[in-house]
Symmetry: C2
Subunit: 336 residues, 2 copies
């Protein structure tokens, strides 16, 4: 039970009427003396008066809030993505309600309902583990627009597109040109659409070069550093000259496992990742990877959802963002 | 303008009265047939009906929300800390409203006000950059209890204590025993209280051994990987045998700078960090550091603030959590 500073408290201290304070704080200040206007604004800051949001949002049925669901705020890709969302949200007077589901379906469901209860105007959902149809059902019935970034929507919708298929192709092409044929892939147990496309692009490129990668060279694990670390043994058992980690977190886990096995990167084995998280430049050797514009992806997602909130009937938009192969020091050229 | 599923919609579909639905959802279901109770609960899930929070919170003046302000959600220490808060909050039907201030004072102030507007019942503030007296003023006037984790409160308050002074001492003692005398420290430009204590504990231990560390061996930078990377040159210029990085993020940045300078850790130079973020086990060599129980710190902070929300008059509590030196491979024994 908090007792907030009210507009009446402020008016009393300023020695003016509540109406005066209200008008001044709403920018209708031309009827008042400069001194009064200044005093009211100053007192607002000093006293920490914040207009009651719930009263406003009850009328408007808008919490000026965007619910954001990510699998793991510990992954630097998502912290950058969240920063992009935050920056656009703030410019528009919204705040993001950030939830990390930690791959826990119960938690995810709890957060979905809490977002609705707290009058979220829209949602951005990255890598949900629940069925898309479940999410669609819940949000649609509540008239809350949403945007999925890593999965295909049930129906047509706004989209932030980065060409994952092409990203996979680029990495495969790069490894092939460096002479790698015996390549092993470490991927997620339950890949979302974006990861799946990444994988298929990679595999297709090898196929096109008549070097199809057999199933036993595809290792499944969790999409984390620990997952990569645990997968290192099985990956090394396939005797590859190079490993493609479906994201940088896995790659960094592989680094650890490879070091512990007494092997050196890239002398004994090459590694490529995906995402270009900041750590990719801090590991030894620095990691060759695909740069994803995580911050811009967050910005675009926030812009699209805000536009959709303003006008639910507008035509669907697709924003396409470029990716780039960043060549660092984790791949050896093995053509002799 | 969202159009949420209402209790009337649900009652219509269930073919019962609004009162019936309300009573069933509030657990007063003994008057109704098992079939009706089951049907109402099932429809609630199917239709995604979530009771309107703002109506409730307007009456109770409680948003069942804890505002949480951290400097940087990109630092794994804070993501673990946030997970601890989240887990306790959820068990108590609260949600954390998470804000990363990114060392931007304007953003921090915006978030403070938004937390008040959104009826936060309490706040947990880690490493704020604003004046504590400013925060105290704003929150106190709004009757919102808060807990500072990295700074000294203005007045007495609840506390989550980890003994930073002792942590600094332990690292110094460890380095001294390994024969290090020429030690350089890389610290934050504007250290918060916890960092300051860490530093003083470290310096005091060297003084006690008649090996006081001169000022020119104390390098200031930002508390990030990039900060550590940028500080590497100046740190190496002081010709140390070991460097104490005030947190692991700085240590990882130093690793990069040290590698680029063509030196090897620990053969040419030793490094110790502080926090024991998960990465400390993934860098090469693995990093010797002080383990901070980040998850438990988050849990304790959440428990204390929830208890304070329930009873603003209860006696102040202090929870003391243990730290531990984790010896890995980044320090060389240089006693000959």
């Amino acid at each position: 039970m908090t007792k907030k500073v009210t507009i009446t408290d402020l008016a009393k201290r300023a020695n003016v009427s509540v109406t005066t304070v209200s008008q001044i704080l709403n920018g209708k200040d031309d009827r008042f003396s400069e001194k009064t206007v200044k005093r009211v604004h100053q007192l607002q800051k000093e006293m920490g008066y914040a207009p009651d949001f719930n009263a406003q949002s009850l009328i408007r049925r808008s919490g000026h809030t965007i619910g954001v669901l990510v699998p793991n705020i510990n992954n630097p890709f998502f912290s950058r993505f969240l920063r992009g969302i935050e920056s656009v949200a703030m410019d528009n007077g919204y705040i993001p309600l950030i939830f990390g589901s930690n791959n826990n379906q119960k938690l995810e469901s709890y957060y979905l309902f809490e977002s609705i209860r707290r009058a979220a105007d829209g949602m951005i959902i990255a890598s949900a583990i629940s069925d898309v149809s479940y999410i669609d059902n819940i949000l649609n019935q509540n008239g809350i627009p949403y945007l999925l970034t890593d999965q295909a929507p049930i129906t047509e919708g706004d989209k932030v597109d980065v060409n994952n298929y092409h990203g996979g192709e680029m990495l495969a092409d790069y490894l092939i040109k460096k002479g790698h044929r015996d390549v092993t892939v470490v991927t997620d147990k339950q890949p979302t659409l974006n990861l799946h496309q990444r994988l298929v692009g990679f595999l297709d490129m090898f196929k096109r070069h008549q070097m199809a990668i057999p199933n036993e060279r595809i290792i499944e694990t969790d999409l984390t550093k620990l997952g990569g670390y645990h997968a290192a043994k099985s990956a090394l058992a396939t005797k590859p000259t190079a490993i493609f980690a479906l994201n940088d977190e896995i790659a960094i886990g592989l680094y650890r496992g490879i070091h512990e096995a007494g092997l050196r990167i890239p002398d004994d084995i090459s590694v490529v990742g995906y995402d270009d998280i900041d750590l990719a430049e801090y590991v030894t050797p620095t990691l060759t990877t695909i740069h994803q514009p995580a911050f811009e992806m967050g910005e675009s997602a926030a812009k699209l959802i805000l536009a959709r909130i303003q006008d639910q009937k507008r035509a669907f938009q697709e924003v396409s963002l470029p990716i780039e192969l960043i060549e660092r020091n984790s791949v050896r050229d093995i053509r002799s």
